[in-house]
């Protein structure tokens, strides 16, 4: 039975952050992972708080967070640690060659693939939309021939609404050697742009806009898979601002971030065990003694002084529900909060400006991120809960998913 200081269960943004922050404190860490990280499905933008509880846009996430109810994970984490987590992340991102811009004090508005603008807090330069778009007179939307899920014309229609129709708009289509086979994805194009030929061809096709300071070129998320290297090369060649959009998965930027984390974890000697699903634990009193994971045909036991639960809540099987009003956390059998009463479970419209009751399902903790029962008493002393497993917030509604993941992952590592 291998013993490490810390075991992190789950390799989404919360788990990766918890593992890296723990390792940077000199702890030995084992990361148990099932399925590839959810970052391939994640924009890799760090939203902290986009909308308040009446769905009004939040101008300053820092101020918005101060006004949240005490049941919200941010209130448990505390502003000091949230700010530290931001610094921690920005330092890490810079060190691994994709610096992130932004702060807790204002929102960056990032164009989506359909031309709406989404608020976020931290973004790599290629995705820091509003910072590059400000003051531009002309927007060029560059589609890619054969690329699904990115339609320049639709995008322009919507950009006119969000940026104003007094700007000049133009659409172009970039040719690649990728056509003729299957449908291509942004990831295919990004991999082409990892090659010197790809960058050459791509930059050449944008030369008509070279040096035009009043113009920005908007492209899907295709500027390479390796940090911001490709963004820097293309920007320097065309000497014009170039802006990526968010889009449908696979998410190139999420994959960039994932690759950075993996490299950092390797550099910090974190042991990553792939393809192993943690299915249970053994606890004595208020201490977890070990967790039990599937290892193919048999089970394997892992022990640590401290366990960080980052299994992704409902969306990733971190919380399950077989019968109504009885959500379960299958590894430690922690108490799970959920709204009571079927009528409060969801509102009729899936895409609405009202929160969904079910979305707040999760584990309640105290300010140390240790799980607590309904009386507020610790259930386990050496287990910490992070990311989407936490209860009391609706990440889709308020745009806070990666912010909570990052801040809680960082704080749990510190405890």
């Amino acid at each position: 039975m291998k013993h490490t200081d810390v075991i992190v269960i789950g390799s989404g943004l919360a788990g990766l952050t918890a593992a890296l922050a723990s390792a940077r404190q000199g702890k030995s860490v084992t990361l148990l992972s099932y399925g590839s990280s959810s970052l391939s499905l994640n924009s890799g933008l760090i939203d902290f708080l986009g909308y308040d509880d009446s769905h009004k846009a939040v101008k300053s996430p820092r101020e918005g967070i101060m006004g949240l109810p005490e049941t919200h994970p941010y209130s448990k984490i505390g502003m000091e640690e949230i700010a530290e987590a931001v610094d921690f992340f920005r330092d890490f991102a810079k060190e691994y060659h994709m610096p992130y811009h932004g702060s807790l004090d204002k929102q960056i508005l990032v164009p989506t693939a359909v031309g709406t603008l989404k608020p976020t807090c931290l973004a790599p330069h290629s995705l820091a939309g509003s910072e590059s778009l400000e003051g531009k007179k002309k927007i060029v939307v560059a589609g890619i021939r054969g690329l699904k899920d990115f339609y320049a014309d639709i995008m322009v229609e919507n950009l006119k609404k969000s940026l104003g129709d007094d700007l000049a708009y133009e659409t172009i289509e970039i040719e690649t050697p990728l056509t003729g086979g299957r449908d291509i994805t942004t990831l295919d194009v990004a991999r082409w742009l990892d090659t010197p030929e790809g960058v050459d061809s791509f930059s050449k096709q944008l030369l008509a806009y070279k040096g035009k300071k009043d113009t920005a070129v908007i492209v899907p998320q295709v500027l390479g898979t390796k940090g911001h290297a490709c963004y820097l090369t293309v920007s320097s060649r065309i000497e014009t601002d170039i802006v990526e959009t968010t889009g449908l998965p696979p998410s190139t930027n999420g994959l960039r971030l994932n690759a950075m984390f993996r490299q950092a974890l390797r550099d910090n000697n974190v042991e990553i065990v792939e393809n192993t699903k943690v299915i249970g634990s053994k606890c004595e009193g208020k201490a977890c003694k070990c967790v039990i994971a599937e290892a193919g045909v048999r089970e394997k036991t892992y022990t640590a002084d401290k366990y960080i639960l980052a299994t992704g809540g409902f969306y990733s099987g971190g919380i399950t529900m077989r019968s109504f009003d009885q959500p379960e956390e299958p590894i430690f059998h922690l108490p799970v909060y959920s709204v009571k009463g079927e009528e409060n479970w969801s509102n009729e419209q899936l895409f609405s400006d009202k929160p969904q009751g079910y979305a707040k399902t999760g584990i309640m903790t105290d300010e140390t991120l240790r799980p607590v029962d309904e009386q507020g008493q610790h259930v386990l002393e050496n287990v910490f809960v992070v990311g989407r497993d936490l209860g009391g917030y609706d990440l889709c509604f308020e745009h806070s998913g990666n912010g909570v993941a990052l801040a809680s992952g960082y704080k749990a590592a510190k405890m």
């Binding site: 399925g35 590839s36 086979g181 390797r266 792939e274």
Partner: protein, 404 residues
């Protein structure tokens, strides 16, 4: 009945179309011709199993299983592909090379039955390669076919005198270790002897069937599964585990039989099969591993085979070898090597296979490590082909640490 979750055919409906498998598929990264695991595996197999409808790009799946490991929902994507491939070849003719690529075991037996068979076969393969015979058969002409060792593992084993012991394990060498790299099996036997175990062999075992599954000879693979499962269960009844050093063999015996064919006995038998270092790590947990190692001054770069990653027990070879004084182990962490069993031997897949392996080759070429280690025989061939470095199995380093 086997639990639903253990049978691949039921797992397609768990697919959410999230694209995790697409981002992880090394073949998709190398070619635009493959439509990818999501569409070919779960999406298409739902239709395929109810009607005559074949996806052309199914042939591009190398069965490296990166998709299965990427899937957050437990879909056995690659196995769905292999089941479809098996269905396809029920009604379609095989390519000429398939017979040869799927039946290394038969070739080996033939070679061993002739006087000077190994030497003649090796010479024949050299001549064949220079005359372009393999290319004509549809086998990648740039590759060397695995050469036959002058003495097979089984033949060596017959002449080797072990210390008898009550603690016994059965060693499943698999075709490649038996015919091509018996030194791996020899190292295993010596390591187990140093740990007070007596190693048994069972020549009634067949080839695990992995080369057949990936080449579309599914019925034949099932016959092998039935034979091997019966043997494993017989050993299980005696309380003796079966251990393999080849990670594709161990994965097939442990998990893939059950996934592919879904019979209860297959799951039962799988639980009695171990990868060599998995077993050594379990011994260590019980405090039973002999850790009086001699110093071995070597820095090692470890390419972890895909089929070992799939087994979900981490990298015990790294943990154990790092306990040997003088040894350091660095993970290559550069993805699939690209050969994936017999995939890279097919002439029309050779370029893809080399493109997939390029990251690993580069990592090894710039590495300062003294030696490259890898548990999988065909990965070792690919590394050798792509870098000129000759890797060994981690068990060979451990044998060295015991002074063997």
């Amino acid at each position: 009945m086997s639990e639903e979750k253990d049978k691949a055919i039921y797992s397609a409906d768990h697919c959410l179309s999230c694209t995790s498998c697409m981002s992880s598929c090394p073949v998709m990264e190398a070619t635009q011709e493959y439509r990818g695991p999501k569409l070919v595996g779960p999406a298409h197999s739902r239709m395929h199993f109810s009607q005559e409808d074949y996806e052309d790009s199914l042939d591009f799946c190398s069965n490296c299983k990166s998709c299965d490991r990427a899937c957050p929902s437990g879909v056995a994507v690659s196995t769905l592909n292999m089941l479809q491939r098996g269905e396809y070849y029920r009604t379609h003719p095989h390519k000429q090379r398939d017979q040869m690529l799927a039946h290394g075991e038969d070739m080996g037996k033939l070679v061993r039955s002739l006087p000077f068979g190994a030497a003649c076969a090796n010479l024949g393969m050299k001549i064949g390669k220079s005359l372009g015979v393999f290319g004509m058969l549809g086998i990648a002409g740039k590759r060397d076919m695995p050469s036959y060792a002058s003495q097979s593992f089984y033949s060596w084993f017959k002449g080797y005198k072990q210390q008898p012991s009550d603690k016994k394990v059965v060693f499943f060498p698999g075709c490649f270790i038996n015919d091509n790299e018996p030194q791996v099996g020899i190292a295993f036997v010596k390591v187990m002897q140093k740990n007070g175990y007596e190693v048994l062999v069972d020549q009634k075992f067949n080839c695990c069937g992995s080369p057949m599954v990936v080449t579309g000879y599914l019925d034949e693979a099932k016959e092998h599964a039935h034979n091997n499962v019966a043997r494993i269960l017989e050993w299980k009844a005696k309380g003796i585990p079966v251990i393999a050093c080849c990670t594709s063999c161990s994965l097939m015996l442990k998990e893939e039989y059950g996934e592919l064919f879904g019979e209860d006995e297959m799951h039962e038998a799988g639980a009695n099969v171990y990868d060599a270092f998995e077993y050594l790590a379990i011994m260590e947990e019980k405090g039973e591993l002999n850790t009086s190692f001699k110093e071995v001054k070597e820095s090692l770069m470890y390419h972890v085979p895909c089929h070992l990653k799939s087994q979900g027990f981490g990298t015990p070879a790294k943990d154990i070898l790092e306990e040997v004084p003088g040894v350091s182990v660095e993970l290559a962490d550069a993805g699939c090597c690209g050969i994936s069993g017999n995939f890279g031997f097919k002439d029309d897949k050779y370029e893809i296979s080399m493109k997939v392996g390029a990251k690993l080759f580069e990592r090894i070429n710039i590495s300062q490590a003294d030696e490259v280690i890898c548990d999988c025989g065909t990965c070792r061939m690919q590394i050798n082909h792509g870098t000129q470095v000759k890797p060994c199995h981690p068990i060979e380093i451990l044998a060295k640490a015991y002074g063997e």
